[in-house]
Amino acid sequence: MGPPAIRRLVWHPMTIAGCLAGVATAAVLAGGPGFAWIAMGATAGFATSGSV
């Protein structure tokens, strides 16, 4: 997907973490508890990176 530099920027772990934070905030603002649970789980799941 795209040139290597852009691809590495898009899929950088910091970018993914930032996106998860954005999704969590959006979930709270949107007021949907289901989305907050998904964001919570996704954040915890991604935090385990490095264990595999």
Partner: protein, 181 residues
Amino acid sequence: MLNSPVWRGPARYAFCGGLLLGALGTAFVLLVAGSLVRLAAPPVVWRWALAGAVALLALRELGVLRFWLPQNPRLVPEYVHRHGPVFGPLQFGFEIGTSVRTYTPSALPHATALMILLLADPLAALAAGAGFGLGRALMTVGNLSFSGDNSWDDAWIAGERWIRRILVVAFAVATTAVLLR
């Protein structure tokens, strides 16, 4: 490990599917167990206990506190080559997705488990389990999409301090929203 050719093609999807199924399985077990545990105290007590526990776990995640957490201190053996290009990764993913078969280098899964155990209704447990599986799958997708030389792990290690801070903030935002409802 993810640099291996076995993770290309359908193997990666099978692995991610296994992660999702494993996480959903653990969420279901926690939900069932929680239906019994919650009988011991009124909901308001559990909410306050959760707030305190999640705060402690977040401080541990940030490195402020250090204390032991239960985990299975071993690596999941790879069955990829034994069970073929689909069922091997699927089983491997399932075992990793359950989060009870290997190391857990983060306290946030423990916090999520407590939230499901003590607070979640069936739909919330489903959402949290699916989210957890997707979060773990993001690592796989990110690693394979980032580069072909496994340097994603190096990027993670290089930025781990800030990545963990961002994730704790995101987790805290989501958890606070759930606890305040």
